[in-house]
Symmetry: C2
């Protein structure tokens, strides 16, 4: 099939394109001419052992010589190539799974085999960003029924590694985001693990928010651990707080999430499949899911939340998980900090039982830890929260948290951003609304989560009576440029906090 | 807002990424660090006069020096930059129109203003391929009502130039593709223009097919004409056969079509908006639309076709066009050739009244030309087809065709591909099915339309009794590699032509 002449010498170009595989070839290279390749042609690139699929970018300058080939960083890493290696290129055989994506675009139901074919090709890296975006969009907006979501979840579980903790009960929790600063997870893990349960928590980085649990935990400890290292930490401490991306649990999810981030969407079907596939693959048996409900939270109405709850619990059962969904208030940010370091400061405050620690964050964490203790069967119904409170206030939870961080390799202190800008009330009155989305946007424009000390420190709560000129919140940034983008956004939006 | 230090020197990298704007900057460049840019960040790049939005690819090698910036070819052209020009980069202000795309993903109706905002940003180049793909997918699969399609069509018309021919009646035709070899347009234009009507035909290149009318016409004449040149040709000959891409009519459509091609979809709403916006912008008043219906055509059932017909005629009226939709048989390819040169040979055969010219192509062209003559009011009802036949068989149509090609700059001869491979019947029997989609795929794998002599020459018709070993069709290719990809596809699909 492939001819010997379809070979080119690898040259290091060092172009980082995020997750997308890109191959660079000269327009006048013999292979482009003989194969009829043109820009954006999908090409298979092989090192004679393994191969990847990449989109072609055509080079017309001396960056490459004829007979040379370049690869984006991710592709070069996947193929494990070195300078002057010989690579072979060929046309991509038609991707059959794309016909399922098209069927889904046209509102057809897909079965297990269809989702399996799609997920397999996604993990192989055979989908371009255009294909990934179409698949995500076609699955969004209520276009999957619970059987389909179950099938997608199962294929995502089957596509990666699956952990086994040799425990009958392994607990986990998850929050359907949307609420800035809602960083209960580290507190819940500390309480539950201190009480003797096994909670190997893998978290994602921020998708559309100013910080994910992994971003916040990375301030305090190492979160990028190998499967072996995670196992060691959990065996020793009963819990961990790591990033899920390196664990090869549900690897398709990691690819899909990057495109969802660019689109700034998180659809119901993908959301359920993403959460539950990670939980099942991580070896969990009992999972509590927190859905904050509020006008500007991710889930806006009790009706939507109830539907999501029902779907989550149905799909959970279908994939063999005990799932309990809790609806919580989602009308304003939780705690004071928004952004990795600022949230880490709140978490430590609660764990250390500091006087000025944010009480709303503490109460949420206790409720969730209590629910998890009850769901596990480890404590009696109605007793969970009381026991959680005791574990926290006695200092056992902080001790456990410190031990987990140390087991993960370090327990670091937090930092405060060099650039700060205080926002004051333009008039007196009552705080009527705090727009979670706009607060999150502001924190992201300030640089969170990439700049780990960036974000927002809130100083206002719903219903509070305030004076004109009173401090509402402080912007934190690591560069003047980022601070300016946040300020520009602030100047163009007068409904971030509504006072009247 | 922007600091002076946000400037970099332009270096020519000569990387061609098709339509997507990509900017290349060093990871360790002062701007990336101070602004917090990372791979795939959307960045505004300005030459102090105009600006574009591009996705960042980060360079870690000596391809660029710190302080230098590169651009993909399309972006460099849009900005009109030269080596060592100073460019300024800044964060992209949040794109408000993406919130409408998200609303559409979540099944909400969009109004005129929303579509206008989206189309404006698309034309500005502010959407990445991920965003374009999401917009196309969200609009596919029956997710737009006719009011929405009308609004989208109107915004697409308003977004570009609009031609004015100073004629009361300007006719046009369009075929909703899906049928390989169905190249009636050049014949219809020749007949109708020879009869004295004005038909300034702009066509697209292939979206998902082995050839578009523009690809086929490019074999015979120049199709890339300026608006001024088109005007001259039409004033002289009453008709033209040019590519619509350079005319800046409905420029959003040209951008969307490239992504649709990568997805291999063509959704109803986008399809109607694409076709009718081009027609209205081209100054047409009366339009006949041909919808071939068949199991493997683009429109698979009479029911779907009737719905599309109704929507087309409704939207047509809303944007001020007289639209008549004709449903035609779509069970097999039309004519013999599939691919630019092979189709051009068929078209010339019909126009020259050659004995062995494909009769099915001739009959279709006469029916459409007749319908158009009647719709225009230029000839009596029921008389159109008879008059069209006379114009064709008298040689007037060929004379007009030759004159149009000459006016467009050349009238070239056709060529035949260097690589050919005959496909013979594996058994005797009756030809029961010819799969249009798979025949088209085979022609595309053979290299059509990029390789203009590539494609398929059909030698079989539905219902025909054949002997074992009889010639069914011939693959034509310009490279051995492409021929092999077609053969590999053939070997893996035994239902391209069904004989029993």
């Amino acid at each position: 099939m492939e001819e010997k002449s379809n070979t080119l010498k690898y040259k290091h170009l060092g172009i980082y394109t995020q997750n997308e595989n890109v191959v660079y070839m000269r327009k006048d290279c013999h292979v482009c001419i003989s194969e009829g390749f043109e820009a954006l042609t999908r090409i298979r690139v092989s090192n004679f052992k393994t191969s990847i699929v990449a989109s072609l970018n055509v080079i017309t300058s001396e960056v490459l010589l004829p007979g040379e080939i370049g690869l984006s960083q991710a592709s070069a890493k996947k193929l494990g190539v070195s300078v002057n290696d010989t690579l072979r290129v060929s046309h991509l055989e038609p991707l059959d799974s794309l016909s399922y994506v098209r069927a889904k675009i046209y509102n057809q139901r897909l079965d297990y085999n269809a989702y399996e074919a799609i997920i397999t090709d996604i993990i192989e890296g055979d989908y371009s960003n255009i294909h990934l975006s179409a698949f995500i969009t076609a699955c969004a907006g209520d276009r999957m029924d619970t059987d389909e979501i179950s099938d997608l979840t199962k294929t995502m579980i089957a596509s990666g590694k699956r952990l086994n903790w040799n425990k009958e009960i392994v607990v986990d929790k998850h929050c359907i985001g949307g609420l800035p600063g809602n960083r209960t997870t580290p507190i819940v893990v500390a309480i539950v693990a201190a009480h003797g349960l096994t909670m190997p928590k893998t978290s994602s980085r921020a998708i559309t928010s100013p910080a994910g649990t992994a971003d916040t935990m990375e301030v305090l400890t190492n979160v990028t651990l190998s499967a072996g290292e995670i196992k060691e930490v959990v065996e020793k401490e009963g819990g961990c707080l790591v990033w899920g991306g390196t664990t090869q649990l549900s690897p398709a999810d990691d690819i899909l999430i990057k495109v969802e981030k660019a689109l700034d969407i998180d659809s119901e079907g993908q959301l359920i499949a993403s959460v539950l596939s990670k939980k099942a693959a991580a070896g969990s048996t009992h999972v509590v899911i927190d859905i904050p409900v509020g006008e500007t939270a991710k889930v806006r109405s009790t009706e939507m939340a109830e539907k999501l709850k029902e779907h989550m619990e149905t799909v959970g059962k279908a994939v063999g998980l005990h799932v309990k969904v809790v609806l919580t208030e989602g009308t304003q940010p939780v705690g004071r900090g928004i952004g990795p370091n600022l949230e880490a400061i709140d978490v430590l405050g609660v764990l250390k039982n500091e006087k000025n620690a944010p009480q709303d964050l503490k109460e949420r964490a206790l409720m969730l830890a209590g629910t998890l203790l009850e769901l596990s069967g480890k404590v009696e119904e109605q007793k969970g929260q009381e026991i959680a409170k005791h574990v926290l206030e006695s200092g056992q939870a902080y001790k456990k948290f410190e031990a987990i961080c140390t087991a993960q390799g370090r327990f670091s202190k937090t930092f405060v951003a060099p650039y700060q800008f205080e926002m004051h009330a333009p008039k007196c009155g009552t705080i009527r609304k705090i727009n979670n989305r706009k607060i999150a946007k502001l924190a992201k424009l300030s640089g969170a989560p990439q700049s780990s000390t960036a974000g927002i420190l809130m100083n206002a709560r719903l219903g509070e009576e305030i004076e004109k000129g009173q401090l509402l919140y402080t912007l934190h940034a690591e560069s003047n440029g980022e601070l300016n983008y946040a300020l520009e956004y602030y100047e163009n939006h007068d409904d971030i906090i509504v006072i009247d």
